[in-house]
Amino acid sequence: MSPDDVFKYILGFISGIVVLTLFLMVLELFRYSLPVLSLKFIFGINWNPVVGSEEYGILPYILGTLVTSAIAIFVGVPISLGIAIYLSEMAPNFIRTILSFVIELLAAVPSVIYGLWGLFIFRFWVRDFIEVPLSKHLAFIPIFQGEPFGLDILTAGLILAIMIIPTVSSVSREVLMAVPDSQREAAYSLGATKWEVIRLGVLSYAKSGIVGAAILGLGRAIGETMAVTMVIGNAIGPAALPTSLFKAGQTMASLIANEFNEADPTSLHPNALIGVGLILFVLALTINLLAQLLIWRILKIKEGAVE
């Protein structure tokens, strides 16, 4: 073997470590959660780590994750798309540079600081400006029932919405910028206004990439831990079922963060938490692969590899 080959194989081996890590991760998570894995684990709603009467059902946390992520997507994706459209189609060059920078900073803020801000500041915004008015006027709708407190599912969902904006908006912006100018020109030449150009020439072309960006945001929201843990109120068992937006809840990630260090190693409690981790793993992996696929396809078109 020539030195060049040796070099190449060493590098190849090293770069394979991540693949190995991912494999090992599934294996280990699976191994440790095996004792608790059952249908009752996934569909149960009771959570009792007391040895002797142990019971682990994680449905409330799965739902908590799904509901908070759904709020994040419903609120965060349209805003992100607006930002992406502004940045790629409307903003003058210098504003675009500054704004992209600001949004990158938003992405750089550590999640525990979002949590701190959520706990002491944002929570009161949500309570006073959103929850109180909603519960005053729309309390007959079940999801708006309960005393507004600000440490609940809605706040968690909204803070997630803020946190996914940088990812979703910058990926969508890239997708929009990958739309060839000939598409915009086609719309312009029909006598379209700016918005019609965006709608006909840009958005319809970039649809699947935008969906990809949204799914990427979903992946982010599902796995996000600290900020959610700090504002969601951390309910347990049936109480954590997300029946109202104004109720304390719990996500899979926040459950792990809250309980991991308190779990008695002689009980099944750690295994149950690792099982939650496994479900989170599977969910995140699926979502991520789907997003990669969609985004990769549309960015590929730009490079001219696919027509």
């Binding site: 020109e185 086609a186 312009y188 030449s189 029909l190 006598g191 019609e196 006909l200 072309y205 649809k207």
Partner: protein, 271 residues
């Protein structure tokens, strides 16, 4: 008539414009990209219901010139224009004229076919109509069919109207783009090297199509191909380094050019 350009709504097709010999009059038109001047003081009158070809070596400003005729040039961030372009006697660059209305009256077809790939063939043609508020399915059906027939595409696609526009061949896509442009009933049709991305057979079909359209439209076509200009155009303009060197009846330009530059270019001595 002033109002017509400023507002929208008149359906005045070019047929109603009998009597006006010149559809477009270009006066002292100059254009820039940044500080680079790419059109220099162009003066030119384009006849109604005729085909005018613009020829010249690559980079001489042909595309820029026709993009100035529907105010597409200014969409490039650094681009600038000065001078006047009269459409039916109204300067499209005057302050109270809306470029969106200009573009609705002056349609354009591009070098590379650019159908909206995610839309069906039907929706591609209907896109411009829907912008103008036509929603009635029956009216749309009729206009889509008429436009596709005008573009000689109807027979080939009438059973596949809901297939995506990108599923057609290159030549069909280009005719789809022509149908899409025709659907909104423009008065002028600008074509920027519409056949250069196509094979000879598809190209010849498009050429014949263009000739058939001149009865209803004023047509300006940019082409690299001098035989093409000779075959289809009634008038030909020769552009060189941003200047209009010569502009005359096609037969005159090709048989008896006044300028030596034109003669050299046509003889294939440069470009």
């Amino acid at each position: 008539m002033d109002n017509e350009l400023i507002s929208l709504g008149s359906k005045a097709g070019s047929q109603q414009k009998y009597g006006r010999t010149y559809k477009i009059e270009i006066e002292n038109l100059s254009a820039w990209f940044g500080t680079k001047q790419v059109l220099k003081d162009i003066n030119m009158k384009i006849r109604a219901n005729a085909i005018t070809a613009i020829i010249g070596p690559s980079g001489c400003g042909k595309s820029t010139l026709i993009r100035c005729l529907n105010r597409m040039h200014e969409l490039v961030p650094s681009a600038k224009v000065s001078g006047k372009v009269f459409l039916d006697g109204i300067d499209i660059y005057s302050k109270n004229v809306d470029p969106v209305v200009v573009r609705r009256k002056v349609g354009m077809v591009f070098q590379k076919p650019n159908p909206f790939p995610t839309m069906s063939i039907y929706d591609n043609v209907a896109a411009g109509l829907k912008l103008n508020g036509i929603r009635d399915r029956k009216v749309l059906d009729k206009l889509v069919r008429r436009s596709l027939e005008q573009a000689w595409l109807w027979d080939e696609v009438k059973d596949d109207l809901d297939k995506p526009g990108s599923s057609l061949s290159g030549g069909q896509q280009q005719r789809l783009c022509i149908a899409r442009a025709l659907a909104v009933e423009p008065e002028v049709l600008l074509l920027d090297e519409p056949t250069s991305a196509l094979d000879p057979i598809a190209a010849s079909k498009i050429e014949q199509l263009i000739v058939s359209l001149k009865r209803d439209y004023t047509i300006v076509i940019v082409t690299h191909n001098m035989q093409q200009a000779a075959r289809v155009a009634d008038y030909t303009a020769f552009l060189y380094l941003g200047k209009l060197i010569e502009y005359d009846e096609t037969s005159r330009i090709f048989s008896n050019p006044k300028e030596e530059l034109t003669e050299n270019y046509i003889a294939g001595r440069f470009g």
